[in-house]
């Protein structure tokens, strides 16, 4: 797993001159000193928490789970580089407010909590929320959906996800449009 400092360095290199000194300082403060105080800025703890959530969504079974491929670190990287600050802030708010004491819960309680959030985030009522009636709740569900989407995306595009959980053929060599599905056949990656 890539540590935060490495990740930040890489981001700085990618962004080149567009990162100002003050931005970098803010990032570093966020990363090293008081991560929970900086909305939209992620820490190692956030990545760890995302891995715990990841393993609840996609637990290890006879194949690896989400944490084994570090979907938490991947989600943080994607959020940092591919998402708006607004989106990032929604995610940190969920992690640090709604899930403030999450790590203190028992495993069963954690599963129960995520199951509950998942149910609410995808429930029928949620459409109303999208229409702006309950913005705060809506932000929460949106943040959870982002986390879940990145967890699934990161997992099913990882090497174990593609080669062990799904079936990946790097060079198929031919195309067959209509083949019989074998019993127990996994989906193509």
């Amino acid at each position: 797993m890539m540590n935060r400092r490495e990740a930040m360095k890489r981001v700085a290199v990618i962004l080149g001159g567009s990162l100002t000194i003050s931005t970098i300082t803010v990032f570093q403060q966020g990363c090293q000193r008081s991560p929970e105080r900086m909305p939209g800025v992620f820490s190692d703890e956030d990545a760890d928490l995302l891995n715990i959530i990841g393993d609840i969504i996609l637990p290890p079974t006879d194949t690896p789970g989400a944490a084994a491929v570090d979907t938490g670190g991947f989600a943080v990287k994607m959020l940092e580089d591919c998402y708006s600050e607004e989106a990032r802030t929604k995610v940190t708010t969920l992690l640090r407010e709604t899930l403030l004491d999450f790590k203190d819960l028992t495993t069963d309680e954690q599963v129960q909590k995520i199951t509950e959030i998942d149910g609410l985030a995808y429930s029928e009522n949620e459409n109303k929320v999208d229409n702006g009636e309950e913005t705060e709740e809506g932000d929460k569900w949106e943040a959870y959906k982002m986390i879940k989407e990145l967890t699934l995306f990161g997992f099913f595009t990882s090497e174990p996800g593609m080669t062990e959980v799904l079936e990946y053929v790097e060079i198929p060599g031919r195309f067959e449009g209509c083949v019989e599905l074998k019993p127990g056949q996994k989906a193509w990656a």
């Binding site: 990287k77 995520i114 198929p172």
Partner: protein
């Protein structure tokens, strides 16, 4: 044979080709193979086949963002990143929008690849012949000018280029979509076959065929066959599809007659008013900012539709105060694209014991069925459209909700079948759809930028209604569930089929090139990229550019040999 008898000087060639994309590559190949010392001037960097396909063999997990675009990329490529073929693995083949500005008088997505091979690297590879009806359309309904060419004039040239390109497809014997010289077709999926059968029954023989695609299902001169990875737009190290880089440029290089000069922005065509001919071109070296001149007996403009229009408009002189060969005032006008991004999709139940193998870089095609005969005439619009689409089996069962082992398991099994079709429609040539030069807004080389002023009008809008409705009707007839229509209404340019800015016609007063793609006012300048197109039909146009390029090269050599050029 014609040979350049002048003493060999630096910068003097038999032929100059401006641009190395799909039509420039063909001009280079044909002219070099005919023995002409040819220089290809390409404004972008070199991209060598195989060597420069830097992402071609990367596995999904080897891409830092697994293919997605970062915020920074979205900012620097804010237009290009809208393209379906743009992603983390192909980004290096697209222009940086900040460095390559243009001005949208009306919304227009100008999608570009400035490099050797141009957009032939990332193209969609769908290739369809035009039919007799398409060349007659302008004369028939009066939009645009009459094509001075008919299907019979170009038929054999289609065959000629198809044999080299390598196209897979199935014969259908349709008058509105003549068959090409085909390699074996790719297979259709069960749901596609099912849909094809139902549509044929319900719609009086309406055909659904496999896409005709420049992916090779057999090896061809050491290229391919396609290995069904479906990563074409990264460049194919196996040569599984046709591009300038994999096919025409290597063929030109094998003759020993090719000089390829990347980083060469052609800024002007040079003209000798006493001899009534172009003498060469001036370039700006994109790296050194140095200006240079190159001379030749003949010049082929293959800089892309808007690139060629830019060069012509920027080549002003006493003789041509409003642009090179532009006494007709048609240069830059009649800009067309195809209008698309409209169609429907549906779920298909059943076929649970069926699946597919491999990743097919192709889909299905529904040839035009409107306005092709007396009983298919529409009163609400002229011309027509075709559909491209595909039916495949998804991954995972159940909805997005859920967590845990069962949820995980549900995402690892084959899911439901679905099939979608989207339409490509003809865009009529309108004089007022145009590009012009903006000298106030210059690029980083101090060159004028293009103002692009183009839109779809009533005919296209009326057609779109039918495009969506007919798609839904066919899916419903085929038993599709949750049939959903859509119309995303992307702006012109988004289809990357821009054409028409130097149209072909009989009359020098109303057109820019003659039936041999020679400029009316400078017969040693040939324009064979999309700008010569007098109408757009509804088929993907690259094959037609290639056929006309080969024909024009043949004509050029005959004329050189007769000392007419």
């Amino acid at each position: 044979m014609y040979f350049n008898n002048q003493a060999r000087q630096e910068n003097v060639y038999d032929a100059i080709v401006v641009g190395s994309g799909i039509s420039g590559g063909w001009a280079a190949k044909e002219l070099c193979e005919k023995g002409l010392k040819t220089i290809v001037l390409e404004r972008g960097r070199n991209v060598e086949h195989i060597k420069d396909y830097t992402t071609a063999t990367k596995k999904p997990w080897e891409l830092e963002y697994r293919g997605r675009d970062t915020m920074e990329v979205k900012e620097n490529y804010h237009i290009q990143s809208r393209c379906y073929a743009f992603d983390e693995a192909t980004q290096h083949f697209w222009v940086n929008d900040k460095e390559n500005p243009y001005n949208e008088i009306k919304p227009f997505n100008w999608l570009r690849g400035y490099q050797v091979g141009g957009r032939s690297l990332m193209w969609g590879r769908q290739v369809y012949r035009w039919s007799p009806m398409d060349f007659e359309a302008n004369a028939e309904d009066g939009y645009g000018v009459d094509w001075p060419v008919r299907y019979d004039d170009i038929k054999d040239w289609y065959t000629y280029v198809e044999k080299f390109v390598g196209i897979s497809g199935r014969k259908e014997n349709l008058p509105q979509l003549p068959d090409s010289h085909f390699m074996p077709p790719m297979e259709m999926t069960c749901v596609e076959k099912h849909m094809a059968d139902r549509v044929r029954e319900h719609f009086n023989g309406r055909v659904i065929t496999i896409g005709r695609v420049a992916n090779h299902t057999e090896g061809l001169d050491g290229r391919g066959p396609c290995q069904f990875r479906n990563l074409c737009a990264r460049g194919c190290p196996l040569g599984g599809y046709f591009s300038s880089n994999s096919a025409t440029i290597p063929a030109a290089q094998r003759t020993g007659n090719l000089t390829l000069r990347p980083f060469s922005i052609v800024t002007e065509i040079l003209y000798d008013k006493d001899k009534n001919r172009a003498t060469g071109v001036r370039i700006l070296d994109a790296e050194t900012n140095e200006s240079k001149e190159y001379f030749a007996r003949i010049i082929f403009l293959n800089a892309s539709t808007l690139g060629t229009a830019w060069i012509l408009l920027n080549s002003t002189s006493d003789v041509f105060p409003n642009g090179f060969g532009n006494s007709s005032e048609q240069v830059g006008h009649n800009l067309m694209d195809h209008h698309f991004g409209v169609g429907a999709y549906a779920r298909f139940d059943g076929f649970e014991d069926q699946y597919t193998y491999g990743r097919r870089p192709n889909g299905i095609y529904i040839p035009r069925f409107r306005n092709i005969s007396k009983d298919t005439m529409r009163s609400d619009y002229v011309r027509g459209f075709g559909y491209q689409g595909g039916g495949s089996r998804g991954r995972g069962i159940g909805g997005p909700a859920g967590v845990g082992a069962e949820f995980k398991e549900s995402l690892t099994v084959p899911g439901q079948w679905s099939l979608g079709i989207g339409s490509w429609g003809e865009h009529l040539p309108y004089y007022e759809n145009k590009v012009s030069l903006n000298y106030d807004k210059t690029d980083k080389w101090g060159l004028p930028t293009l103002d692009i002023d183009c839109e779809f009008k009533e005919n296209e809008m009326a057609m779109r209604k039918d495009m969506q409705q007919s798609a839904m009707e066919m899916l419903e007839a085929a038993g599709g569930k949750n049939v959903t229509g859509y119309d995303d209404m992307p702006p012109p340019g988004h289809c990357i089929h821009e054409m028409g800015t130097a149209r072909m016609g009989h009359d020098p007063k109303t057109s820019v090139v003659n039936k041999w793609n020679q400029m009316h006012e400078a017969q040693n300048v040939f324009i064979t990229d999309g700008s010569f197109m007098s109408s757009s039909a509804c088929q993907n146009p690259s094959l037609t550019y290639m056929a006309f390029t080969a024909r024009a090269c043949d004509h050029a050599l005959k004329e050189l040999n007769k000392q007419n050029l």
